[in-house]
Every structure is written in structure tokens, then in C-alpha cells.
């Protein structure tokens, strides 16, 4: 249930971004979430709707993109998708790898009217 805390931080960043733009209304907020963050989109949407009710953001919605876990092997340098959280190179079997994506948790952009 940390989605409530995350929704609160999203709203804080939106309000901070929109502070000097009082005339426009927020429509969509594009949020990027790495698979490794264990943030559930349904719970985040629910929390966002509940927290923005009867506020200036009540007509806005989150557009959530889930970013899959990608890694690169440090031995054979091949990039690969981490399947079912197995952090082992499927080409050479080494577990010495660099994570390329999967830990993201950020707001990319805001669409306004």
C-alpha cells in the first residue's frame, strides 16, 4: 500500500510544476514505473483518484507505462530481458550483470489543456 505515498508525491510534483501556470488544466500525467519497484498500477490509479477528488486535478488521470527489467551481461556483453526475476545471463549463464532498466519511478511529462 505504498501507492498512497507515491500518489501523494506525484501530486506534489504536479502542483510544483503547475504553480506558475495557473491558467491551464492538467489532463494527463505520464508516469514511468519499473517492474522492480513493485508499484501496482491499479492501486496507484485508485490512490490518485481518491487524493485528487474535489481538487484542481480532479479531471486529470495517470497514464502509467511499465518498464520491463533489462540487463547486460558483464562477461559476454549481450543485453537481455530479465525473465521472472532471474538475474542470470541466458547466453553464457553468468550472474555478473548490469541492470539497464526496471528501477524507474518518475514523472515523464504532463499534458495540459
Amino acid at each position: 500500500m505504498h501507492e498512497t505515498g507515491i500518489a501523494t508525491e506525484i501530486i506534489n510534483i504536479i502542483n510544483d510544476t503547475m504553480r506558475n501556470r495557473p491558467a491551464v488544466e492538467v489532463r494527463q500525467v505520464r508516469v514511468m514505473i519499473g517492474e522492480l519497484t513493485a508499484v501496482l498500477p491499479e492501486s496507484l490509479n485508485f490512490a490518485y483518484r481518491a487524493l485528487t477528488e474535489n481538487t484542481a486535478l480532479q479531471n486529470s488521470r495517470l497514464v502509467i507505462t511499465i518498464i520491463p527489467v533489462q540487463a547486460q551481461c558483464r562477461t559476454c556483453y549481450k543485453p537481455f530481458a530479465v525473465q521472472e526475476f532471474t538475474f542470470v545471463c541466458p547466453f553464457c549463464g553468468q550472474s555478473d550483470i548490469d541492470l539497464i532498466s526496471g528501477n524507474e519511478l518518475y514523472i515523464k511529462e504532463i499534458e495540459v489543456d
Binding site: L36, F85, T86, F87, V88, K108, I110, E111, V112
Partner: protein, 215 residues
């Protein structure tokens, strides 16, 4: 529709506060561990047994709980400086809560600080508190497939303590299976197998904590 580029981390505020905490700990030469587990895996009992063994390391404890200061009372009974954070239902500690709690500890007298997080294997994983290492604790009365179910936590942790080894003969928990599952998620994970109740493995664990102190 016009688009405003934001490109800001959602937990940026927490990360900033965690960085401040980390700077403070470094200035004061305090080694800090963030202890994470399910409810009931024996975090507080582990600390109760460990703290007297680490008396020379001048420990302090930050206790995080949903409700009550019962855990802090158990630590205070050992004459170890402790401060309780009651989250009132909040499922994890964040860097701001820890920063506020630190004002109630005399950091000049502490070399080793344990932050006992709220019992929860999901939410606390994403919140940096400024610790050096996250330690995940799992007990033999839980499932040995837990690392596969709580990947984020086992990925974030640097050390895994397997507790309640005294109960192993009465459970289906397999040490090799849990280690294999955890290493699949995090190949660098370091393990300790202990029983806080009987003391098995506790000497090795306390020696490791001592080795982590600032020289």
C-alpha cells in the same frame, strides 16, 4: 494537447532527505543498517540478543511500528538508546521520519545504528533511509520461496539473515532452496543462519557487525 516535460523522480524528496541522512551518518562515523522482514520473523528478538553482544560498539536503535512503543520498550530495557517511530498505519519508514527521529538520539555517542523498519517485505524496499546496507531477515517458519515472491526486497538487500534455525527440524523450510532462490534474485547476497533464541550463529553475526564499524 500541450505537453510539459517533467522528468522528475517521484521519490526525489525522500532521496534528497536520505542523502542528507547519509552525510550526517558519515560525518558522525555511524554505521547504519536498515532491518527489513515480514511481521514475526524475529527482528526485535534478534536485536535483543545482539545488542548486549555489541555493547562495546555503542549501538542505537530506531524502531518503526504501525502502532505502540512496545518494541522500543524492549530495547530500552537493555539500556540501549532507542527512539520509536509510530507510523499510525503507514506501511514503511521514510527518510524524513528517520531524520526527525534522529533528533531524539545523541548521535555523538553512537557508532552502530539499527533501524528496525515496519514489518513488511514490499513497501520499505523502495525507500532509502540513508543506511549503508539493507538487511532482510527471513525465518524458517516462513516459505523458502519468499525471495521469489518479494524480489524487490531481496534485490535491494545486501545481507540476508535466516532466523529461527532452532525450529528448522519441525518445518519444511530448506536452507539450500531459500539460498538458491535468493541468489537467483541477487547473486551478491551474503547469508547468516542464526537462532536468536538459542544463540546459534550469533557470534559470527555480531563479529560481522563489528567488522562494519568505522575504524
Amino acid at each position: 494537447m500541450p505537453v510539459i516535460t517533467v522528468e522528475r523522480k517521484i521519490l526525489e524528496k525522500n532521496d534528497q532527505l536520505a542523502t542528507q541522512n547519509r552525510q550526517l551518518f558519515a560525518e558522525k562515523h555511524i554505521t547504519v543498517f536498515n532491518l527489513l522482514s515480514s511481521p514475526g520473523s524475529g527482528k526485535t528478538t534478534l536485536l535483543e540478543k545482539l545488542l548486549p553482544m555489541l555493547a562495546e560498539s555503542r549501538c542505537g536503535v530506531v524502531e518503526g511500528d504501525l502502532q505502540t512503543d512496545r518494541d522500543a520498550q524492549r530495547i530500552a530495557a537493555l539500556n540501549v538508546p532507542v527512539v520509536q517511530i509510530v507510523t499510525n498505519g503507514g506501511c514503511h519508514l521514510d527518510a524524513g521520519l528517520v531524520r526527525d527521529a534522529l533528533t531524539n538520539l545523541d548521535l555523538d555517542t553512537i557508532r552502530l545504528l539499527f533501524i528496525e523498519n515496519v514489518g513488511n517485505l514490499v513497501c520499505p524496499a523502495g525507500y532509502d533511509l540513508g543506511e549503508q546496507k539493507k538487511i532482510v531477515i527471513i525465518s524458517t517458519t516462513e516459505g523458502d520461496d519468499k525471495p521469489l515472491k518479494y524480489t524487490t526486497m531481496f534485490r535491494a538487500a545486501r545481507v540476508c539473515i535466516i532466523n529461527k534455525m532452532d525450529l528448522l527440524p519441525w518445518t519444511d523450510f530448506n536452507i539450500e532452496t531459500v539460498k538458491r532462490n535468493a541468489l537467483q534474485i541477487n547473486p551478491d547476497l551474503q547469508f547468516f543462519t542464526v537462532s536468536a533464541k538459542t544463540g546459534t550463529g550469533m557470534q559470527e553475526l555480531s563479529a560481522w557487525f563489528k567488522s562494519q564499524l568505522y575504524k
